[in-house]
Subunit: 198 residues, 2 copies
DNA sequence: ACCTGAACACCGTTCAAGT
DNA sequence: ACCTGAACACCGTTCAAGT
């Protein structure tokens, strides 16, 4: 807020004429950036999974370059026009892939949550402290096989693979799971003791 | 920092003798809290998926009650003894379910990322402003069918279901996907142009 | 009516100075 | 050697006062 204000040569108070708080500012900026992600309406002759992976990848890349926005998007769900267009595009691709409507409705949340949280996690490390992911990795490597037998048994598998390969695999896992896991029955109409309503 | 310091009747500077920064403090507190999650070694005669869902649910519940820690865990990957015990337990359950080692090695990350980010997202809303999830939901409902055809086509499916039902389904999706999506070949040894190493 | 200076109530972190 | 008061450099948000 203060940085933006001084960039605009005013006091921070002036911003509150246009925006209610930081969350709303973040949401507005993010939606503006989302205007740049290409929605895969162009590419023909590409499998629907790959087109989803591509669109989701663009979204992830935008958030990766702006980790603050990713973290913000995680707590304040975006709902700007460009975000809705992204959702619409992904829903269309899932339908194209023959995923049943009720499954893609919930599945879209999973895909976007995954992309957003990966970006919030891995987003540009400011310092050269190489991140705490590495600390976790070495903790896994050094884990005593007496106390943590399963970790020790897995060995190098746990720390293998580039972040990119893991990301791609995550998307594949979600798509496979969304296509195969059926939704619980009787959730269309919330029950009398329902949780989401009111 | 300052709040904890004044709780301890000192200046905030004193804390830096025991802890390097806020992230490290958060990690230490979280690991302490994780000491309370019951690791499913007890329950016999329950399907492995359900036992995973149960353990992951306990983890999620802890984070839900401490949203700040959830957000912190998302950017600074925990690596304390109790977190490692949780990872070890989940790996054991996946193996018990017959999931191949290389898949469960990467799958564990997906499960924990999902739980952590759900908690960061839904964690105790401080105010009574009912959260921005609701704003997104109504945005979906009001989406013009001309601009967002796929959203309009899905209709009520998009906004159906309690958060709990969606969470449970998310875990099911991940487990189904992890079991079915094979890992990309040739990732065990990073290639010469590999990304994770160095 | 529209904008904003100045203040309020906070943060995390550092470091020189104390015991 | 171990601890810490006080300061530094920031935040987001509000509101009375200005034009």
């Amino acid at each position: 807020m203060r940085r933006l204000a001084s960039e605009l040569d005013t006091g921070p108070a002036s911003l509150y004429v246009y925006v209610r708080n930081t969350a709303e500012l973040h949401a507005a900026v993010l939606d503006e950036l989302l205007g740049t992600v290409p929605l895969a309406t162009e590419s023909r002759r590409v499998a629907w999974n790959d087109r989803i992976a591509r669109v989701l990848g663009s979204y992830t890349r935008v958030l990766m370059e702006h980790p603050t926005l990713a973290r913000s998007a995680l707590v304040t769900r975006p709902s700007g026009p460009n975000y809705l267009a992204l959702v619409d595009c992904l829903l269309g691709l899932l339908r194209e892939g023959g995923v049943p409507d009720d499954r893609s409705a919930w599945g879209i949340d999973l895909l976007l949550l995954f992309a957003t949280s990966i970006a919030a996690e891995h987003g540009t490390r400011d310092q050269a402290d190489q991140g705490p992911e590495q600390a976790f990795m070495t903790a896994l490597r050094d884990a005593s096989s007496a106390r943590y037998p399963a970790i020790a048994a897995l060995g190098n598998d746990l720390v293998s693979g580039s972040p990119e390969a893991r990301y791609e695999w995550g998307v594949a896992v979600l798509l496979a799971g969304i296509a195969s896991a059926s939704r619980p029955a009787g959730e269309a109409e919330p029950s009398m003791q329902g949780g989401a309503t009111s």
